[in-house]
Symmetry: C2
Subunit: 210 residues, 2 copies
DNA sequence: TCCTTTGTACACCGAGCTGTGTACTTAAAA
DNA sequence: TTTTAAGTACACAGCTCGGTGTACAAAGGA
């Protein structure tokens, strides 16, 4: 009991250090931004010693890159995987607010945020951001093709642009912009998809989903 | 000539210190971002002593706010002032790339950049950003009304969203997105404006795009 | 000419940042 | 039980940043 009093005082949190670090990153980078989140604070929230953090990641840049990579695997899963919806409905579902809270705003897309904060197009984070954006557009195009769109790539790119616009504008205006984007999306989709799929038609189509 | 050798060495640049500072801000904040531009570098570029800078602005925050205020007066002048164009053409002109260089990308809207970098919605810069965005939407709505749009406010907000989307996406993808946004805008405008104004229509004024 | 305003040179402070070195402890696999 | 991988506490180096204090110099109107 010599100098042991301070040794295991904040007792061991076990092995999941890396997970805790990444989870704290997600929380803090979103809430405060990347540049305004210091490694000290991050380690405190993750309940991890600074030394441990730098054993798992070569530096903050590395951590940021990993933080972004985390979003990749589930590119808008829960939207594109919903086989119960028609392609048209799936495309529109991408604009539905995550329904987090009643008055809570949709947070700015972390890839846009990272690109602006990092500011270096060569940084891995910026690379991931491009890859992700292209992947989303491709997913949308794929669904558009499934729905029989005349030019699925164009529709995918257009819808992706709407998503980014809604994301950025929600942040700047501090007011939800996704409903407005969804309205535009509906127009574009109805213009691009054949009428047979336009099941939502007021009265003339009226096929409903088969 | 005792200690005078260093006195007037970098000789006086005259009275326009404030202008030089703001002009250097514009250059550096756009090129490097706000957070990555230190006051030392800024003063060096402006050819102004640090002391002088802090006599004109109470702090960096103040400077950032003034930097953004500079854009206000001419809210997209040169677009809305073009009386030679029909309202429809003016709305579309807002999407024309500033034609800076042949291969140069449209820079990210400084208000979006500042909002993301500053991250504090209470910061004057964020306030200005909101004000500016609302002003642009209002201008667009005004022109839409002039063109006889059924719901000018809605069209203005929609076009503003497209502009923001193109701006953000151009930055993230590192590829020009304004033409794609312009294509969407054309659809929305043609849907909203009465056929009489749809002078550009290829034939019969269909709502086609492409 | 004088005098006020504006700008200058430069050292310096304190805070916060990323990242490291060292000596130690613990959990769990072997 | 022994060994090893993972985690810890903490001080500290080194840097950049925003911002200030001081003493001085020049421009320009009166």
């Amino acid at each position: 009991m010599t100098k042991l009093e301070k040794g295991p005082q904040g007792r061991r949190r076990g092995r999941g250090a890396r997970e805790r670090i990444l989870s704290a990153s997600q929380q803090l980078f979103r809430a405060q931004g990347i540049n305004r989140t210091g490694m000290d604070q991050l380690c405190a929230v993750a309940q991890v010693s600074k030394r441990t953090a730098y054993q798992h990641f070569t530096g903050k840049d590395d951590l940021v890159a990993e933080y972004l990579r985390r979003f990749d695997p589930d590119i808008m899963a829960g939207v594109f995987d919903r086989t119960d919806l028609t392609p048209r409905e799936r495309l529109l579902a991408a604009f539905e607010v995550p329904t987090s809270g009643p008055e809570e705003l949709t947070p700015l897309c972390p890839y846009i945020a990272a690109t602006v904060e990092i500011h270096d197009p060569q940084h891995p984070a910026s690379q991931y951001a491009r890859d992700y954006k292209l992947a989303v557009a491709a997913r949308l195009a794929e669904t558009a093709r499934e729905g029989g769109a005349a030019n699925p790539e164009q529709l995918g790119e257009q819808l992706a642009l709407l998503l980014d616009g809604a994301s950025a504008r929600t942040r700047v205006l501090n007011a939800e912009s996704f409903p407005a984007a969804a309205a535009i999306a509906a127009v574009l989709i109805d213009n691009a998809l054949p009428a047979t799929d336009r099941d939502r038609g007021s009265e003339k189509g009226a096929v409903r989903f088969e």
